[in-house]
Symmetry: C2
Subunit: 414 residues, 2 copies
């Protein structure tokens, strides 16, 4: 008998009928003898509807009030799912974020979990109850309702699993696991049996979309074994866990892509370390996430800096830079949208030289121009034109031996 935390997303609880299916799924785990803590998102389009209601009132709506509004979505889900479980004769108890002891910092709209007081959850588990916790929400130390922002429900699940020292955390979603590439882009993609936290983190950050990077980070820090699996199909999912013996045998585990990339070039910055510090400092203050960064000489006294941001943030980023023009003393800012990023990810990459060369060669042979490059120990990313992204993903998937027919790698299954 173990303790398992299960998370079901908005699509999985999108209707009364689907919530009943979820209850059935949980009942199965419970019947296997597991103690169950379940976290759920808001039903289907609820959050969108609430956002639209708020925008009619105030645009942009104030964030603290938004949190009060949006958290009702998950509260509806925990009530209905608990009813569905009780209807099956199981004992269940719904808990909002504050009831489940989820303490966050006070940053409304993107709060971070600081601590979980698990007393109430444990008491309920000890009474043989299935605990149904509202995802995405918490309470700040001064008693305000907060939301965790994007990927919040995954993070709630993983953080609860960590705090409860659960045996595993199961993320139920609308796909059957983590794939070597997005099957919509590369039909040859296969599902991975397992993947390391580090690789998953790169994939999550690179737009694989199955798990939010925050939740993977949290799982990695607390060494919580994660399984990503389907709410609708009863099959083995993908395990995300410590690397173990996986590295040696693998070069590239998957190809990720992100279709919403913009590039900003700041030309002619003074050639001083302080200039870069100031540039990325003001962007960070404005909460703009900068991804790839490339610098090059402009002339003897000046440098050019190019970096990528999320497509939705390029206008704000440009404005922030222009607002600090006097301080930064650059010559010109040039932005470009319509870009994508494709990445090859694999923990074994660092010990296998030649991966980068192989990637550049295959893209260039496919007639795809590389605009920027960034690398880490376990990934290589290239910014390219958005309309060439699909071609690039298929090309790389094939070049790195991931196509289903060819797979002989430990981590992948057909």
């Amino acid at each position: 008998m173990g303790l398992v935390v299960q998370k079901f997303g908005g699509t999985s609880v999108g209707s009364v009928e689907r919530i009943r299916k979820v209850a059935e799924r949980i009942a199965k785990s419970h019947a296997d003898g597991d103690q169950c803590v379940v976290t759920v998102s808001a039903m289907g389009k609820t959050t969108d509807e609430l956002v639209s209601l708020a925008r009619q009132m105030s645009d942009p709506p104030p964030q603290r009030e938004m949190d009060v509004l949006l958290t009702t979505g998950e509260q509806v889900s925990i009530a209905l799912l608990s009813m569905a479980l009780m209807e099956r004769g199981l004992k269940a108890r719904p808990m909002t974020g504050w009831q489940a002891g989820i303490q966050t910092d006070p940053i409304h709209g993107k709060a971070r979990i600081e601590e979980i007081d698990t007393q109430r959850v444990r008491q309920s588990l000890d009474q043989g109850e299935i605990v149904v916790v509202a995802g995405f929400q918490g309470v700040s130390s001064d008693g305000e309702i907060t939301t965790l922002g994007r990927g919040g429900s995954d993070t709630t699940a993983v953080a609860l699993a960590a705090a409860l020292e659960a045996d595993r955390c199961e993320i139920f979603t609308d796909v059957t696991g983590v794939f070597t590439a997005d099957p919509r882009m590369a039909p040859q993609a296969g599902k991975l049996k397992e993947i390391s936290y580090e690789e998953m983190l790169e994939l999550a950050n690179l737009g694989a979309g199955v798990l939010h990077p925050r939740s993977v980070e949290c799982a990695m820090t607390h060494r919580v074994p994660l399984v990503v699996r389907s709410s609708f199909v009863d099959e083995e999912g993908t395990w995300v866990k410590e690397a173990a013996n996986m590295e040696e045998e693998l070069n590239v585990r998957g190809i990720a892509h992100d279709l919403q990339v913009a590039r900003i070039k700041v030309l002619g910055l003074p050639n001083q370390t302080r200039a870069l510090t100031t540039l990325f400092g003001v962007l960070a203050e404005a909460h703009i996430n900068v991804d790839m960064i490339v610098t090059s000489d402009h002339d003897n006294d000046r440098i050019d800096v190019a970096f990528s941001v999320h497509e939705e943030e390029w206008e704000q980023a440009e404005k922030v830079i222009e607002d600090h023009g006097e301080e930064l003393k650059y010559l010109e800012v040039v932005s470009e949208t319509g870009l994508a990023k494709v990445s090859a990810v694999g923990a074994g990459m660092v010990t296998h030289p030649g991966v980068a060369a192989k990637m550049f060669t295959s893209l260039s042979e496919a007639g795809i121009r590389i605009r920027m490059v960034s690398t880490s120990e376990i990934k290589i990313s290239c910014a390219i034109a958005k309309n060439q992204a699909e071609k690039a993903v298929r090309e790389l998937h094939s070049v790195f031996g991931l196509d289903v027919e060819e797979q002989t790698l430990v981590g992948a299954s057909s």
Copy 2:
């Protein structure tokens, strides 16, 4: 400068546009220099929709989970109303029941407020904020979300006013005040300028529908001056307060009616006090409210008992009695539906003999048969056939000099 608690019901906050109007109304009070605490209900049909969702899942739905579900309705309202106030440049702070310190007993679905910890509300008021509190909800001492049941939002407002020692509590509703009778039944009805708590309590209990009896009871106990007024029309409402000089001049202040009455006759109960105690004991245990009670002799050893209940509860009441047949040892139970109750209410009644006689005479002259009678110090109620209720209300309204043309009474205005 005073402290005022204002309550707006579901119709008043039924849409984004109406919430804006409510914000405008509150802004006016705030501009007059009042500190404002506002309580709101769920938007229009929200509660009905949530109930229907729950029923699809489980029927009847479990009460604790129902409370978790239903309280989201008011939470949406406080978020949106706070946004609307902030949009007008005012400082506002939304608070759920638990945030506002509303402690209740643990009876889900019909909890009673035990205590209000006003610290958080006062802090917010001290900062010049308008505090927007979710009506109808609270939290039990073991941290479960509770609802107050019918009339809950009125009760929240009055209880907050009492705890904060507010100068007044304004109940904004879809009528302009308390009338001498329901204007839909008696077009001659006029609005009262003021009415005593005791009279209002009788009217509320008798189905006048403007204020829930619980809230009037709470106002009476804590001597909170209440005003009932319109959300939509800017005119003086009706004050509900201590009796002062009103009594002497008045016989009957209003005519109330209740169209959902059923009568149950238990024939041939053993003529022992214990039999009555048992009968009304088992009904109370089943949470069935018994209203009028009449007993009469059956024969030397047995008595007949007739009593009225809410029309929706007669079947349950009959079942409870039948389930205790062995204990009660009665001969027969006979139930009758399709009844109504009409009542004349007035604090001066007790010192003006002849009110009852006048009432019985006028009903009988109008060809209306009286099925049961019950009296208190300030009211006389008669059960009659439902299809004669309107006629009875008009008749009594006229006989007791309440028709607008004739009114010279202190309490009434045209």
